[in-house]
């Protein structure tokens, strides 16, 4: 008999409860308790489905591990009578331990009946140790519970043979659960990103990040209060060759070793894109390597495959991409073949709204971090700023679209009225209330998309994800709605070449042909065109 592990959902409640009551009898959880755990994003339940027998569940196990709590609890585990002694219990446990590690847990706890030495032995072999006894914990039998703890081992360092890793990232952790080995497989791809004000060059091998070097011209734009396209393009030309050199050094690879080159072909600032496209083509010809043109927005989603824990992105997922240039809600069924635009901003991007509001509050550029700082101690409910495109009539036509122009004007009007009447402007309250309005509308629409489409996963990307309120708001809303939230590391959320390289590697692994040399830079490349 063999089984396939998959994440459990509320749809699996019935077979799980059958197994639960069959295994635990009087101790069994109620159906409601189990349903609540299955729907809770802080929990992670797996079922073992018998291969060739869809719907036949021979085991399940659950973990409770809130992101960032540093500890996890094994909630329950059960294996059907006829499926025991085949290592299924151990496999389930290893998978949960791997997930706990992924969620940042250092320790995992469990309780086991004192009269079940078989289970205790299994846990000991997995590294759990007894730390306490809860007397007469299991009722009505009055059986003691043994509390056991596993200290999750330190992540292993990179596999032998992988290049030396330096610079802007830490070493990858090898997941305990899946045994998936990464670091030496997959195509070696160099990615180039020049769509806005960051010159990014990244190098990946498959889904492993080897280098992520970014040269930003942000400071040159600061005095103008926003990105000046010509200044950005000039800066790309200057920065590109030094960025190549730095990325190769960081990855410890040579140009000759590369399997392919990938470049952002759009959307973005036209003149800026052309620098990257021109350079990428010439580099590809000089090295006689295949070239892949990649959509910038899909790159932001692709950044997630580079997570250091190596956990594969689960699809389909809803993706919310928020930056200075984009505010888009996507349905991603496949990274290289099926990305659908659900909605986007009809005027300003969210990051632009942050910049503009920062300016009218007298705060410097870029506005996102400044508003974040100014909002400390402010009351986010002090002023009820409008939520763009959220009225019932707007929701009919623009259910997944965004608008921030009216919000910016509302903030400006509110501030002007205060100033006109000689009153002091409560900067912290305005910043906090404005930020809340942005976070609210972003997350309300993203969560609605997840629920409407029955996709319980949300991925965030783009530089605005650095905003603390947007992150906490996302965590809260997703937890409430039973949605799994994924946020790639911040260095991969802002524009970078590694995410472009990652999509390049995905395209290669999916067997896509190179893009050739005749594609252009397309400032309005639609997100459905994954490969330009």
């Amino acid at each position: 008999m063999s089984w396939q592990l998959r994440r459990a959902s509320v749809a699996d409640l019935e077979p799980i409860m059958e197994l639960e009551t069959g295994t635990f009898g009087d101790d069994a959880w109620s159906s409601d308790a189990m349903r609540s755990d299955l729907a809770n994003a802080q929990c992670y339940y797996l079922v073992a489905e018998r291969v060739g027998f869809p719907g036949v569940i021979d085991g399940y196990a659950g973990l409770f591990a809130p992101q960032g709590a540093h500890e996890g609890d094994i909630q329950t585990i059960a294996v059907a009578e006829g499926a025991r002694r085949g290592g299924l219990g151990r496999t389930l446990m290893q998978a949960l331990i791997g997930e706990a590690r992924k969620r940042g847990a250092d320790e995992v706890f469990l309780e086991v009946r004192a009269d079940n030495p078989g289970a205790q032995h299994l846990y000991e072999t997995l590294g759990f140790e007894e730390i306490a006894v809860r007397v007469a914990y299991y009722q009505p039998d009055g059986v003691d519970a043994i509390v056991m703890r596993l200290r999750i081992p330190e992540p292993q360092t990179q596999p032998a043979g992988a290049p030396e890793l330096k610079g802007s990232r830490s070493d990858p952790a090898t997941p305990a659960s899946t045994g998936r080995f990464f670091g030496t497989t997959g195509p070696l791809v160099l990615g180039i990103e020049t769509s806005c004000d960051e010159t990014g060059v990244g190098i990946v091998r498959g889904t492993t990040l080897l280098a992520n070097v970014i040269a930003s011209s942000m400071e040159e734009h600061a005095r103008y209060g926003g990105v000046v396209p010509e200044i950005a393009a000039r800066a790309h030309l200057e920065a590109l060759t030094p960025t190549f050199t730095a990325a190769l050094a960081e990855a410890g690879v040579t140009l000759q070793e590369l399997d392919a080159i990938a470049v952002t072909s759009g959307p973005g600032l036209s003149g800026a894109l052309m620098v990257g496209v021109g350079a990428a083509k010439a580099l590809a010809v000089a090295l006689d390597k295949p070239l892949y043109a990649v959509n910038h927005l899909v790159g932001h989603v692709g950044a997630d495959v580079l997570r250091e824990d190596g956990s594969a992105i689960e699809l389909p997922t809803i993706a919310l991409l928020v930056s200075g240039g984009h505010t888009s809600l996507l349905l991603v069924r496949d990274l290289v073949s099926d990305v659908h635009l659900l909605g986007e901003t009809i005027d300003d991007a969210a990051g632009e709204a942050f910049d503009k509001v920062a300016r009218l509050l007298g705060l410097p550029y870029p506005g996102g971090p400044e508003i974040d700082r100014a909002a400390v101690g402010g009351d986010q409910k002090a002023i009820r700023f409008p939520r763009g495109l959220s009225l019932p009539k707007d929701m009919e036509k623009h259910r997944y679209d965004f608008s921030f122009s009216g919000l910016k004007t509302a903030v400006a009007r509110w501030v002007e009225q205060r100033r006109d009447s000689g009153e002091e402007v409560p900067i912290a309250d305005v910043a906090a209330s404005f930020r809340e309005a942005v976070a609210d509308v972003l997350l309300t629409k993203a969560v609605a998309a997840c629920l409407d489409l029955g996709v319980p996963r949300l991925l965030l990307g783009g530089g605005v994800v650095a905003n603390s309120r947007i992150r906490t708001s996302a965590a809260e809303r997703c937890a409430e709605a039973g949605i799994e939230l994924r946020i790639p590391p911040l260095s991969l959320c802002t524009d970078n070449g590694a995410m472009i390289a990652a999509i390049g590697a995905q395209l290669i692994e999916a067997g896509h042909e190179p893009s050739g040399l005749s594609f252009g830079a397309d400032s309005t490349l639609p997100v459905t065109v994954i490969q330009g």
Binding site: I231, A233, M274, V277, G278, L283, A286, K356, L517
Partner: protein, 210 residues
């Protein structure tokens, strides 16, 4: 041998040799397709020349003056190609290449090179003639001017033979670079000759909305 690239007007790519001259030269007049055509043109020029990348001694590139978006594509491509091939980049003023071609064809005397700068302006450079090696001698410029203001902008305007061109030959850029190298003359600097500041003005502060 050099790979030569110029995108200060249209797109031009050539492979040149000091002794053999222009081995191959390809041109695309369209001034809005630089990024699209540059890769294929480099590939095709190399293929048609029969010259292996390893045989090249470097990459020559025209640094303008030229409208910035297109100009940058050629410079970016030249730098990236040179980086990939492990060869040096040599830079020349694009107008110098035009003047070199003019004099190499047997013309003599003072020359005023004029190219389109868009936005109803022109780029210009004045040459007094050639030195003993046949290399053009820049007298004034490069500069940027409105066409009507050109006579006032160029000292001794009427003494120059004016040459308005809409295409820049990469072969001329490459062969000029060969000449500069052979006679140990200075190449152009690393800064592209945009001759225009980015279009941007400092804001006077947020506008009132009420």
């Amino acid at each position: 041998m050099l790979l030569a690239i110029d995108t200060s007007a249209g797109t031009s790519v050539a492979v040149v040799d000091r002794d053999r001259g222009a081995i191959v030269e390809l041109g695309e007049e369209d001034t809005r397709r630089h990024a699209e055509v540059i890769g294929e043109m480099i590939q095709l020029a190399l293929d048609r020349s029969g010259v292996a990348i390893s045989e090249l001694s470097g990459v020559a590139v025209g640094m303008g003056p030229g409208p910035f978006t297109g100009l940058r594509v050629g410079i970016a491509a030249a730098q990236a190609f040179a980086f990939g091939a492990g060869k040096p980049v040599v830079r020349v003023v694009s107008h110098d290449g035009i003047a070199w071609g003019h004099y190499a064809a047997g013309e003599r005397g003072p020359l005023l090179v004029v190219t389109d700068a868009r936005r109803r302006e022109v780029y210009w450079t004045a040459y007094s003639g050639v030195d003993t090696e046949g290399l053009p001698l820049r007298a004034q410029g490069p500069g940027l001017s409105r066409p009507d203001d050109l006579p006032a902008a160029v000292d001794g305007y009427s003494g120059y033979s004016r040459l308005d061109v809409s295409e820049v030959s990469a072969a001329s850029i490459g062969l000029l670079a060969e000449g500069l190298y052979l006679h140990k003359r200075e190449f152009a600097g690393p800064e592209p000759l945009y001759l225009r500041s980015p279009d941007v003005t400092l804001s006077a502060g947020p506008k009132r909305v009420s």
